[in-house]
Symmetry: C2
Subunit: 361 residues, 2 copies
Amino acid sequence: MLKAPQHQVAGHEAAGVGNLGPLVDGSGSFYKPLQDDKRGSNEVAFYTLLSTNNGIPPHIRRFFPRFYGTQHIEASDGSGLLPHLVLEDLTLGRVNPSIMDIKIGSRTWAPESSEKYIEKCLKKDRESSSLPLGFRISGLQIYRSKELGFWKPGKKAAQKLSTEQVKLVLRRFVSSNTLNDLDLKPDCAFASTVYGGSTGILSQLLELKAWFEDQTIYHLYSCSILVTFEKELALQGKNPGAQIKLIDFAHVYEGLGVIDHNFLGGLCSLITFISEILTAPSECKIDVSAKVDQKNLTDSDGIVVHDQKKLTDFDNGVVADQKNITNSVNDVVPYQKNLTDSVNGVVADQKNLTDSVNGVS
Amino acid sequence: MLKAPQHQVAGHEAAGVGNLGPLVDGSGSFYKPLQDDKRGSNEVAFYTLLSTNNGIPPHIRRFFPRFYGTQHIEASDGSGLLPHLVLEDLTLGRVNPSIMDIKIGSRTWAPESSEKYIEKCLKKDRESSSLPLGFRISGLQIYRSKELGFWKPGKKAAQKLSTEQVKLVLRRFVSSNTLNDLDLKPDCAFASTVYGGSTGILSQLLELKAWFEDQTIYHLYSCSILVTFEKELALQGKNPGAQIKLIDFAHVYEGLGVIDHNFLGGLCSLITFISEILTAPSECKIDVSAKVDQKNLTDSDGIVVHDQKKLTDFDNGVVADQKNITNSVNDVVPYQKNLTDSVNGVVADQKNLTDSVNGVS
């Protein structure tokens, strides 16, 4: 019996009547409907060729989901038999996984894309955190407790997080005290077991980075890193199963002798954010204005998220708050101001500098 | 007595009547006129604050030109006293330097730039090699011999080089056999002494890379790495003075806790190109079509470039050839085609793949 995945944080969702989205069979397969334009066939081609590509070392191959071919199955929207990619179900066996879908790269479009597509993507890259950070959180869920369920902010809200908010979310992702009070400073209790260690997230990201510094096979646009772990296992002192996987390959191009500098740059940016948490887990600044900001983000929190319907409502609820978030962000984090206003804490008065130059005459 | 620099490969040039450009005094100072919009004051602010910034380690500080303040001097275009940045003359003491000005980053504009500026830069990034390669060669000169002078292709031609052409130019830059026949396969005779070694270009680029993986002080847009060495010294078995410097800081922004992923990505891309030459100096493919291509680029070659006037003519000459180059590039290097056509040599037939998917139904 196929059903909508329980733990989907980004992308089209099958939940609800008349929605086309992926399905899972509960025994390890994830059915992703082929998008009906070129994207669907592109992704099939990618997975098909990936399996025969000897240029990908085994320690990197494990970051890609397994591919079991394509299959026509009854689509989730009731539109009849549609072709689906059959992929590894990445959340199989996970009970209450905390998940982040992080779209890598400040640019989600290839140089050879159509004008219309470039325009659409560029707008989204500029409106989201992709341009300033080199990545954006496409969606996430953080497990809190049996009673409280998941914290799952709306996708649109997640994508537009400011730098400081992304730092906060990355800390909250590995904290124990998101359980009760989301206004609390994240304690980063699981940072060392989830992000750190020889098999942790940072270690995996660094393996990926080393490969991207060298590989000229693929340029991955609009591709995500899916980060997963189980907080309950961490609480029990067990291995929390921290894992990264690369997903979404509808916009992959040949590297043609050039590294994927766009992906690599964004990946390095994400790595510095994670490293920072491991280096200084307690250095999480939440000032008064950041709290206000955070409050807006969490207006729809505290709901026990159990079924897909509620998730959707929740999502829409946060989207409605989008405006508040954006407004408060402007108050909290001074958006990258020109260097002439202040460099590294040294406040320079642009006017004075200009005047002093003119004063030489 | 101030005069136009002898070895300028990019930017506005003072040579010729009525041109505003930088001047040198022959004793170590380079006078760069302040651009009269915000760019000029931005660059002054950058240099002023750089000198007081303790966050820049000494081994990185050496990559920036020395700054001696600002001064009003008689402008090169005869328009009277104008404010100039007084900087270190980076070619002082160089007799016949080979020089490349490499603008780093696939994006030359900051997220907070004006719509008009973004549109202008994006167009240039897309038309040049910036978008595909993560950098573009803004200008270059390669010393050939006393008789032949310099090989100095036009700036516009340099910026639009294809991937294969950039690889060729980076090899030609360190070859001895650019002396007589530019159609010859570059021998990369000086690769190990110029690019390689503990003080060579690659080593310097890697130092810079390590810093950019970490520093969140600056975001450098439209900034260049100037690569210089003296072929005559290399021929004499002496230290060729291989050196990189960062130049052009009119578009620097605060990092605000985020690394400069745009600069870092482009820098890593350049590093792979240089590394490749050191790893396999003899693996330079020039096929028949590439030769044709190369011929177009070198139509104006063979001229002994001695004075600034000729340089300008030469430049315009190559610009006139621009169309030819672009056309031939399309023939030579298949522009990044969608992965579905071919991945890593495995040629997949997009149509067949799609058909086979449909065939499952």
